[in-house]
Symmetry: C2
Subunit: 204 residues, 2 copies
DNA sequence: CTCCGGTGAACGATCGTTCGTTCACTATAC
DNA sequence: GTATAGTGAACGAACGATCGTTCACCGGAG
């Protein structure tokens, strides 16, 4: 084998980096294989040594990023693992922000997939959302409910709502460039969202 | 003029319909002007009689749909205008669903704009979200607060959270094809979200 | 005749992909 | 230790197809 296995892996990585950079900015059909090869510092032909075609290159990138995203060491996964009381909602908010920031590219590519390819990725990721939340939090929430720390009324849905809003907020901010959606700083927005979800809009 | 002004308007409309149909399914760069012309039953040259180029055709469609969306007669706008108590959250949820259903194409095109063109649309639409909510609901919420019907703690944010979650839910369902995000029927999901936002996750 | 919506052939550019070829490297033979 | 056959990454010219856009022309209404 001519170049070392390491060198080959690095070439493949450079191709992926260039593809991610361009796909996230111009979309799938708006990016040419030539552009990717040039930015990666690789010949056009060599790109096809590493990937059968453009579609498969995109799929390979998505697979790679999905594996990173679903790993148990993301900020959000760790926040879930440590979730023990309603006072941890703020921590969940901060973890959501970190996760959105870290996976901005992946999130953008999910939108690319939805808009230009069939969008099967998003169905896999969000289709089983409720089930995953129950698995991750179910027992812990049952305990909190038994101790009277959380209302009996579907706390899993409550935490889904929390992460949805947090993700929405930081998605707007970091992915779409919409700043201060709530007219507040990130910390204040997290605090307000957490308080409303904890105590409700009705006076106590 | 050979064809009547009406006939010309109908041609223009057929072009827009075909363009929307294709842009929402294949994206901007994934759709060719030839495809649009063929589906509209119009010659390729005639398409360029109605629009300077492909980009301007897309912009014209977005302008048209934005005008419809921001009109005061959408289900959501009407629900806001009628919002008088926290018991109206369910109505807001139903109105959100109707709005997402009616503007599925527009929403998809906003994502197209974000992914393939600069995405300026979304900044205009969401940038002033808080301000618009305050304008639409501010006084009414102040009244509810004065009567002790709503907590003093930023009810505008509460209603933003409500519509964000409702929109997110029905966006997943109607735009992205993710069914039963909360593992419940639409009506039950609306009821659960409304209850949690009204009463909070903490037991009363 | 003039005007103008409508037509489709034609333009040059660029697309995704293929192909023959080169060449640095390893494993084996002697 | 040296020579050599084999391997596969890397290259870039070339392919046919398709892209967005233009333009000379048509035909019927005023």
């Amino acid at each position: 084998m001519p170049p070392s296995a390491q060198a080959v892996a690095r070439t493949r990585e450079r191709i992926h980096e260039a593809a991610i950079h361009l796909f996230t900015r111009q979309g799938f059909h708006g990016t040419s294989t030539r552009e990717i090869a040039t930015e990666a510092g690789v010949s056009l032909g060599n790109l096809y040594n590493h990937h059968k075609n453009k579609t498969e290159l995109f799929a390979a990138i998505m697979e790679e990023l999905e594996a990173e995203y679903t790993a148990p060491d993301t900020p959000l996964a760790k926040a879930f693992a440590a979730f023990a009381s309603l006072d941890d909602l703020e921590t969940l908010g901060a973890a959501s922000q970190k996760t959105v920031k870290r996976f901005t590219d992946y999130i953008r590519l999910i939108y690319v997939d939805v808009v230009e390819l069939g969008g099967e990725h998003i169905k896999r990721l969000f289709g089983g959302m409720r089930g995953r939340y129950e698995e991750l939090l179910g027992e812990r929430l049952d305990g909190m409910r038994a101790r009277g720390e959380v209302s009996a009324d579907d706390p899993v849905a409550g935490l889904m709502i929390a992460t949805i809003v947090f993700f929405y907020l930081f998605n707007m901010e970091h992915v779409f460039g919409v700043k201060r959606l709530f007219g507040r700083s990130d910390r204040e927005a997290i605090a307000t969202i957490s308080r409303i979800l904890r105590d409700g809009m009705r006076p106590r």
